[in-house]
Symmetry: C2
Subunit: 130 residues, 2 copies
DNA sequence: GTAACTGCAAATCCTTTGCTATGGA
DNA sequence: TCCATAGCAAAGGATTTGCAGTTAC
């Protein structure tokens, strides 16, 4: 893969985002640095970066989002405020081991997404603890 | 939600499928019973059934699939043969409890998908155990 | 009777692709 | 120099929507 300032900028935006941007959001962000970049270029580069495993595509509630790969994590989507959080990958090695053993498969990646209510929205009383 | 034979047939096809059909596959299957059904009707009903939580939409490798909700399960996608398997939801209650406690959230649903190599393909030597 | 539902076709939305020009190695 | 990559605009594909007719209740 050859260098281009467009691809560098796109990768940088994804890596520095904590909010799992969509292609469109990435496009507008990169446009601040490279005003004449085209949306086609953003899509092409996102695909190239996903193929190269430099970033990850995650599909949440009917929309594609892009995610840096800095560490293993789960995702949590709050149904009240629609925020998408990163969660620590609690127990993941243990879980993978158990599943591999029980099902006799070899696992090399995962996508773990929980839905529910975040602490913030629970405090607002939008949902009771139970 | 009012009764219609189209919706009944669509729900039945999803419930009786073990292969996580796409909208298109469901359309062709329902067409055997109701030859003049339109694709638009299939999409409309799939959305209605998902909204009513009678079926689940799962997005795997860039394609939407539909899944019955008979029991809790994980999904496993084999990178070699592209088969999508249902796996037992090993340890799920324990995992949810741990995550809820650690992250202070309330979880009411999840999507857990593993990627890797299935037993079948490993036996064919497409990938080594390790 | 009437509101929900259907089939059909057109519209919409997101993403990809073809083309020519540019730029990195 | 040469080939990957860019920008632009048109094409593509999946899904949704508007409308007029039909059906469940």
């Amino acid at each position: 893969m050859r260098y281009s300032k467009q691809r560098e900028s796109i990768l940088e935006v994804v890596n520095q985002s904590s909010n799992h941007p969509t292609a469109e959001m990435i496009y507008w962000e990169v446009k601040k640095q490279i005003p004449n970049i085209s949306l086609g270029t953003v899509y092409r580069n996102l695909n190239a970066l996903v193929d190269a495993s430099l970033i990850k595509r995650i599909h949440i509630q009917d929309v594609d989002h892009y995610d840096h790969r800095k560490d293993e994590h789960y995702h949590f989507c709050c149904r009240e405020c629609q925020t998408l959080y990163d969660l620590e990958a609690t127990d993941i090695k243990n879980l993978i081991q158990k599943v591999e053993k029980k099902e006799q498969v070899k696992i090399d990646d995962y996508e773990i997404l929980f839905y529910g209510t975040c602490m913030h929205c629970m405090k607002k009383g939008l949902r009771e603890w139970n």
